[in-house]
């Protein structure tokens, strides 16, 4: 009985490992970033097309998502560093109930704009398939890169792409 199970188990494990092989690489995107308007934390509505001319990093996050919370302080650092150079960061919160997000932001303050996608219309449009997700949009409003998830070290890639897109 045990003999029969050993090999299939081994093969199944190999296949599973194979499935996990892909290392992190930002997905390259093309095409215009679909315009949207969302209410922001300051009360004003923010429209993506009005930010044409700046490099826009759209980060989709939620307070219940561990990696999202881990990423927050690093996003704040990037925003502070490059904001004056034609870069902005939009923190799109995807929670249907914003109270938890606001409670989180009271403890962890960030200075970049926070937008509320409570109906998830923007999440759907951008086909968000992982939490968190980050879309890099260039000065002409084209989508350039997509990052799925967050692991320590990703912020270095974010910075590389921001610098390159600012220089364009």
């Amino acid at each position: 009985m045990k003999q029969i199970w050993k090999q299939p188990l081994l093969v199944t494990i190999v296949v599973m490992l194979a499935m996990g092989m892909n290392a992190h690489a930002a997905q390259v995107l093309s095409g215009k970033a679909t315009d949207f308007t969302l209410k922001s934390r300051s009360g004003k509505n923010i429209k993506l097309s009005e930010l044409r001319g700046q490099v826009v990093m759209i980060n989709f996050w939620a307070s219940w998502c561990g990696p999202c919370r881990q990423e927050m302080p690093l996003l704040e650092a990037l925003y502070k560093k490059y904001h004056g150079l034609g870069f902005t960061l939009l923190g799109v919160n995807v929670e249907q109930d914003s109270s938890k997000a606001n409670a989180y932001l009271r403890d962890v303050s960030v200075s970049f704009p926070i937008l509320y996608d409570t109906k998830n219309s923007v999440s759907k449009t951008y086909n968000i398939s992982a939490m968190p997700s980050t879309v890099m949009v260039d000065r002409d409003g084209n989508m350039r890169y997509l990052h799925h998830g967050y692991k320590p070290g990703y912020e270095k890639e974010y910075e590389k792409q921001i610098k390159a897109l600012i220089r364009e």
Binding site: A62, C65, C68, S123, I128, S129, A130, M131, S133, G149
Partner: protein, 72 residues
């Protein structure tokens, strides 16, 4: 017959990546809630399993991982 079996398995595994999840990653707020974990405090669940296993004839099928925030 064997080739067919392998082909079916590979196809099935390939299909894994193209099935659209019906619960989107941004809809997992409730599933990510700690109260939805099958084992919120592992130090306690493993003790309770031990209490039963030491006194009952039955053993095994204790649990599997999954659910949660589905992040990354």
């Amino acid at each position: 017959m064997r080739y067919l079996t392998l082909l079916v398995i590979v196809f099935f595994l390939g299909a894994c990546s193209s099935i659209e999840p019906w619960v989107k990653p941004y809809e997992r707020a409730n599933l990510a809630d700690p109260i939805m974990s099958f084992s919120r405090d592992p130090v306690s669940s493993s003790y309770v399993s031990h209490v039963y296993e030491a006194r009952e004839g039955g053993r095994g099928a204790e649990g599997e991982s999954g659910g949660g925030c589905g992040c990354n």
